[in-house]
């Protein structure tokens, strides 16, 4: 036990340093102010939604309960995926493990330390979202004081469930397929979870997949309120949702659900512990042996590349393709986006009115922009940090830091522009948007993609973490949070600026009111200033920060 605690204390100290890195000299106060701003903003947003739902007669509370369940169900699925992706590198593909396994400690001690580390890394961003959700829900429902610590505690326990399930899946898959490469194991595990979820929803809760054919808003709300549960009664997120509901004024059922979630968590932790005891060390050795049996690789860099720009570009592409943590997450993102775009096609009933089409098109633009911002934080922000110690080579070579940053900028901009334009194009075709709004969203989408790449790459230069090799961990650090907030602020301001002209267009088009040209011109000037700031400043400051830095 003493060994467990000393290993754990070393990891916790490391984690503390990770969340408050000295490397980029970001003052802790600044970080805390930004995080507090995010928490307060999230709280007010949730509070507004919940307060609105309180005003909806009869079905309001039911809708609120379903909304909470929906959010928690989405969190649960996302946590499963993020835990699976990070658990392979935490349990198997980690330099530190060779040192730990050489110590006179039991593999289960290493397992427990790595389990906690994995759960924290994969879940802490979710925790930052749930804190304002709990407080807003409690305030809106005038909950008693005990509601807050109990729901927070229940959520912490809830986080261990996907962490345990993921570690069990990874251990079993590595043991079953010891000759498979890490990328294939992660891919199979992800597909397995995806199929499991789909099968569960299809059998256990089929109404979740049903599309309601109605134009009536109240009928739609009744449908949502009458869904028995969002995830189904066997899913921990539903139990957690019930803890939220039943601890507003604590009752017996709340306690039952709390016990249920604690017992499930303990059982799964025990099960994963037993599995780890039986197979972790053996499977770790198998994976370590596999490391030396890589097949010969073919790539464009096997041949001589004349142009330094293409040389660097190929290097980046090859490293991305060969890193499963990277491309598996990108593949999931793209699949989810395709599902989303095609789901727009499946709900044609709302798009009979052209007014709806404009509104949905505008909302779709906002959604797609947020998705690109998320992709930016996850993939573009860590791009500079992932050069790791190779940065000495780039900086001491004639290629230089400036060209390195611009090469990455061109590559990511091309990728994001293609992605955002394809998504907007497909969505607008499915929605049958008005031509003027269609073209408008494509142009603004183009500028948004360019700005989001600049923000994430620029801030990645300002807050690099050259000692970290896991891109997910880089993205979830303090610099990543700042990058996410700046990206969201940029998109938010874009939407605020254009909501006026779009509204103006709608009332002109459908109610034949006069168009306010001055207002539209001012909006475009403001957008021009915002985009100039979004595109130019982060890159400028990012390049400067990299060049001023000592390596």
């Amino acid at each position: 036990m003493k060994i467990h605690l000393s290993l754990l204390s070393i990891r916790l100290r490391y984690l503390f340093k990770y969340f408050t890195p000295k490397e980029h000299k970001l003052p802790r106060v600044t970080f805390l102010v930004i995080l507090s701003g995010f928490l307060v903003g999230g709280y007010y947003l949730f509070l507004r939604i919940f307060n609105y739902l309180q005003t909806v007669e009869i079905i309001g509370p039911a809708i609120m309960a379903r909304t909470i369940e929906m959010i928690l169900f989405v969190f649960f699925i996302m946590l499963l995926f993020s835990n699976v992706i990070s658990s392979f590198s935490t349990f198997y593909n980690n330099q530190e493990l060779h040192f730990l396994f050489s110590l006179p400690v039991l593999p289960t001690a290493i397992y427990l330390v790595k389990f906690i580390e994995n759960a924290i890394y994969a879940s802490w961003a979710t925790l930052a979202l749930v804190i304002p959700l709990i407080i807003a829900y409690g305030v809106s429902n005038k909950a008693v004081f005990i509601f807050y610590p109990v729901t927070f505690f229940a959520f912490l326990i809830f986080l261990t469930i996907p962490a345990s399930i993921s570690s069990i899946i990874i251990f079993i898959f590595v043991r079953l397929f010891p000759r498979l490469k890490p990328r294939n194991i992660i891919f199979i595990a992800i597909c397995f979870i995806f199929l499991l979820i789909l099968l569960y929803i299809k059998i256990g809760n089929p109404e979740l997949l049903r599309i309601l054919e109605t134009e009536n808003e109240r009928e739609l709300l009744m449908f949502a309120a009458n869904l028995t549960t969002v995830g189904g009664i066997y899913v921990p997120s539903t139990w957690l949702g019930n803890i939220f509901k039943n601890f507003v004024s604590p009752d017996f059922y709340g306690l039952i659900y709390l016990l249920l979630i604690i017992l499930t968590s303990l059982s799964l932790i025990m099960l994963s512990y037993i599995i780890a005891e039986a197979i972790y060390h053996k499977s770790f050795l198998l994976v370590a042996e596999q490391g030396g049996k890589e097949e010969k690789r073919r790539s464009p860099l096997m041949k001589f590349q004349k142009n330094p720009f293409y040389t660097f570009l190929w290097k980046d592409i090859i490293l991305f393709v060969r890193e499963p943590v990277q491309w598996v997450q990108l593949a999931i993102f793209i699949v989810l986006l395709i599902v989303y775009i095609f789901s727009l096609r499946r709900t044609p009933i709302y798009f009979g009115f052209s007014l709806w089409r404009v509104i949905v098109s505008f909302a779709n633009f906002a959604y797609v922009s947020f998705v690109i911002a998320t992709l930016g934080v996850r993939f573009i922000f860590p791009a500079i940090s992932l050069e790791r110690k190779g940065i000495w080579f780039v900086h001491s070579s004639p290629f230089g830091l400036h060209r390195m940053i611009m090469t990455k900028y061109i590559f990511y901009t091309t990728f994001c522009v293609i992605m955002i334009e394809c998504l907007l194009l497909m969505a607008n075709i499915f929605i049958k948007t008005e031509p003027i709004i269609f073209s408008f969203s494509l142009v603004v989408g183009l500028i948004t993609a360019i700005a989001l790449v600049s923000i994430n790459l620029g801030l990645g230069c300002i807050f690099p973490q050259f000692n970290e090799d896991n891109p997910s961990k880089i993205a979830s650090g303090s610099g990543g949070i700042i990058s996410a907030l700046v990206s969201i602020a940029y998109i938010g301001l874009t939407i605020i600026i254009f909501s006026g002209p779009v509204h103006n267009f709608l009332v002109h088009h459908y109610f034949k009111r006069q168009i306010n040209l001055n207002f539209i011109i001012i909006s475009f000037i403001l957008y021009g200033i915002l985009s100039f700031a979004g595109i130019y400043l982060p890159l400028r400051f990012g390049i400067r920060a990299m060049e001023m830095r000592d390596y």
Partner: protein, 241 residues
């Protein structure tokens, strides 16, 4: 003729001098070895010359090209190997060498000729086409040596070149460095391996607490210390300063 000119170079970290008022001139075809205890400022000096650190004061020029004024031109003439050699783990050794050649703009015909020559010289086997994450430290060092020489730099900066190499490879590296010097290249090497310094150095520099305390040949160093054995010379001088 002086190739490398360092004038009054200084660098502080948190108020502590890592390098203080360092002035040094290296000749074309010279091998200069920097000696000194841990924390003497050797690595900082190499990093300053490689352009990886910003000096607080001082100028560095190579063949008359100032690092501050023309950094790209300057850097196209140097090759630097840090104390912890780095290769992108997911690239193969060959891909990494190709990558370096591409970044330095080496001509295709020269690249092919040099690459074959270096692979033979450093006795690199078929593992060159396996990913670097499977390499031992010594294998990585061999790839690092190849990438260093593939673009034929005018100034070679190496921090601890012998770490991880077996005696046979150590000999090959020593011979390679000597050949490079004979072809007019300048080498600045930082090391703790005193016998290596004695065997290869045309001149040595003894650093301590950021200052260059002695510059001269091994014989001159022995005269100053009043000893003949390199280890005794080193211990006497580093204790004395």
């Amino acid at each position: 003729m002086h190739t490398l000119n360092i004038n009054n170079l200084s660098k502080q970290f948190d108020g502590v001098w890592a390098v203080k008022n360092l002035s040094l001139k290296l000749n074309k075809g010279e091998i200069f070895v920097l000696l000194g205890p841990n924390g003497a400022g050797k690595t900082t000096t190499l990093k300053l010359i490689a352009g990886l650190l910003h000096p607080d004061t001082g100028e560095i020029s190579l063949n008359g090209i100032d690092l501050k004024k023309e950094p790209i031109k300057y850097k196209s003439l140097i090759g630097y190997v840090p104390d912890e050699p780095f290769i992108y783990n997911k690239l193969t050794g060959r891909e990494f060498i190709n990558f370096v050649a591409g970044i330095f703009g080496v001509r295709k015909d020269l690249y092919e000729k040099r690459c074959d020559e270096l692979v033979k010289r450093f006795e690199i086997g078929s593992w060159i086409d396996e990913p670097a994450e499977t390499y031992s430290h010594g294998m990585k060092q061999k790839i690092i040596m190849c990438q260093l020489l593939i673009h034929e730099p005018e100034l070679i900066l190496i921090d601890e070149p012998l770490v991880g190499l077996d005696p046979k490879m150590g000999k090959i590296v020593r011979e390679t460095f000597r050949e490079q010097a004979e072809r007019g290249k300048t080498l600045l090497i930082s090391t703790h391996t005193l016998s290596f310094a004695q065997q290869i150095g045309d001149r040595v520099g003894l650093m301590n607490k950021g200052e260059l305390r002695f510059v001269g040949t091994i014989e001159e160093l022995a005269r100053v210390a009043g000893k003949t054995d390199i280890e005794e010379i080193y211990l006497k001088l580093t204790e004395g300063i």
